[in-house]
Amino acid sequence: MSERFEQLLAERSRLDLPGAGVDWVETIRNENARRFEELGLPTPRDEDWKYTNIEPIARKSFTPADTGESLTGRDLRAIAIPGLDVHRAILIDGHYSPTLSNAGELGDGVRICSLAEAIDEQPDLVQPWLGRLAAEPEHGFRALNSAFLQDGIFIWVPDGCRIDTPIELCCVQHGEPEETVSQPRHLVVAGEGSRLTLIERYVSLHDKRYLTNAITEVFARRNARVDHYKLQQESTKGYHIGSWLIEQHAGSHVMTHNAALGGATARTDIRVRLDGAHAHCDLNGVYVLNGRQHVDTHTKVDHCVADTSSDEFYKGVLNDRSRAVFHGRVVVHPDAQRSDARQRNKNLLLSPDAEVDSKPQLEIHADDVACTHGASVGQLDDDALFYLRTRGVDEETARGLLTFAFANDVIEKFELPRLRHYVEHELTSKMFSIDDLEEII
């Protein structure tokens, strides 16, 4: 089933890859190429891919996306989050665009640049971290990304440095031909006591079939605070496989906010290693599906040491014949006493043909822990709908209002108000043909 992807792998030789000829970089590539050949693409026989069949992806002959075209001012405006002030880094079809990005000059030793540039110019900053969390690829897609090790963003925040303005990393799908693949590779190192907000977006300017296969490695060092947003807004025909691999040191706090809105088939892995006492991670997310979309969210939190905590809350809204998978794993390692792990997943089905598989999985190898989890699937409350309608609210608006109310307690946790409004708007305009919900709320 993976033959076409083996052909894709062979195309590496034709590409101008970052750090070509640099030993440690080539070692990562070659090791992962070998791993890809062993692993192949995941199949439904793999427990972690049981409900997500990637055969439609495997059947296509994807070719690496070329260095993309540039974007016009109009393109940029079309994808901007209204009113949100950001430092912007832009990747077009997986290639960093220095001319459109304006995140370069932050001073104080902060580095925000392309990964390729960082490998060339400051390998001492990159080498200790790059690939550390992806060394043992869980599945073929990750091995494939590392076998190419293409461009992406590199963010280095020195110890004690606070970056107050969010950094928006926009991965834009723009290229002309059908069936291209881009494999962004990002690396974020937040120094001790530093502060960073990163908004990672995947957007498309067309509705062609393509594949994004991304990896983001994040290191939150002692007492760092990282707010990491992901907006997955791929085209309705796009495929998205993305991994967030996060390592947290003592006292660090990472908030992940994940909104999955687009894609024909999309899978997001979030892996968090809580590796120092009092490290805390929040995992919030919402997935909003219609048509025949398939969105899989697969999270795993490792409580590796004592006194760590995690709080996960995901909500899903599904319409039409869409299907969602939520798999939340929490592993409490033998020495991780006093771990505190919470997990909740709630789903709202707006159509009888929509389907969700929600699978919480706790593996607890320590005895003094507090772990809770809960999952639910429900429909809109008919009594609440009737109540709203007796107040004059038409059916579509009433459904929109109740759906919005359902999703809102997760979206409310998004700390940037402009971003929150944007996601609220994307949700309601995607699911309902109502224009004046914003008037109301």
Binding site: T390, V393, L401, F406, I440
Partner: protein, 257 residues
């Protein structure tokens, strides 16, 4: 205003209303009394447009129009209001959101533009005082965690904001202590007008000491078995509903009108 003619309603195949006739003139207040399970809430809900209730016979005219042909939101926009016996909790939707949506839905329906924020705020603040509730209450999710009495007052508050033409109050008095009931009754009386009619469903006579009805109807087993003026309520208070049951058992189906 409202004219119900030989209304038959089934729920899940079971006959619940078995031929209701009722005429409510403009500005009138009609009380509907009767034992539990007699069909009072069913009647109220059918008038408001509950969908899974089957009207198998009869018709309802409201301001000369076929009320049953309209979806519930259109009925509301035309001035029908139901104060629920069991108001629904709607987590995540605040009282103000709901009211603003309701006010603007009406305006849109009548081709008017949305209400200005300031005007709306003034309106709700004025009305919330009327039911003796704090302003914080506006920001709370609709009925969520409200006490029984707060839920009932919230219904009256909504009615006051929406100013319906036909208000149906389904046991708004039950579960209220005497002070809360007076607040509700004062709210209702303040809204009495020549061009506004009300149907007050109640299980007890008590409320009718405060809201004096023009007509009283007794509903039993899906039929109106007796009607009269306000004195009928007093009579019922004295005699209870036992006589109705006796009579229905003696001559099933032969209720007097």
């Amino acid at each position: 205003m409202l004219s119900i003619d030989n209304l038959h309603v089934r729920i899940d195949g079971k006959a619940i209303l078995k031929g209701i006739d009722l005429d409510v003139g403009s500005g009138e207040v009609h009380a509907i009394m009767g034992p539990n399970g007699s069909g009072k809430s069913t009647l109220a809900n059918v008038l408001a447009g509950r969908e899974n209730f089957d009207v198998t016979q009869g018709e309802v005219k409201y301001l000369g129009e076929d009320l049953l042909a309209l979806p519930s939101d259109e009925r509301a926009c035309k001035g029908v209001f139901l104060a629920f016996q069991y108001p629904v909790e709607i987590p995540g939707v605040s009282n103000v959101y709901l009211l603003k949506a309701a006010v603007n839905a009406r305006r849109k329906y009548h081709g008017e533009k949305a209400i200005a924020a300031g005007e709306f705020l003034k309106l709700v603040k004025e009305k919330v005082k009327m039911v003796d509730m704090k302003e914080e209450f506006l920001q709370r999710a609709v009925n969520e965690g409200f006490s029984g009495g707060e839920k009932k007052r919230n219904e009256i508050f909504q009615m006051a904001v929406l100013e319906p033409t036909l208000a149906i109050l389904d046991e708004t008095d039950s579960g209220l202590d005497i002070d809360a009931m007076k607040i509700v009754a004062d709210g209702v009386n303040a809204l009495r007008r020549e061009d506004r009619s009300m149907i007050v469903v109640t299980h007890y006579q008590r409320l009718l000491d405060y809201i004096v009805p023009d007509r009283v109807h007794v509903l039993a087993d899906g039929r109106i078995v007796k009607f009269g003026d306000k004195n009928l309520a007093l009579e019922l208070e004295k005699e209870g509903y036992g006589w109705i049951r006796d009579r229905l058992e003696r001559e099933p189906g032969a209720a007097t009108r």
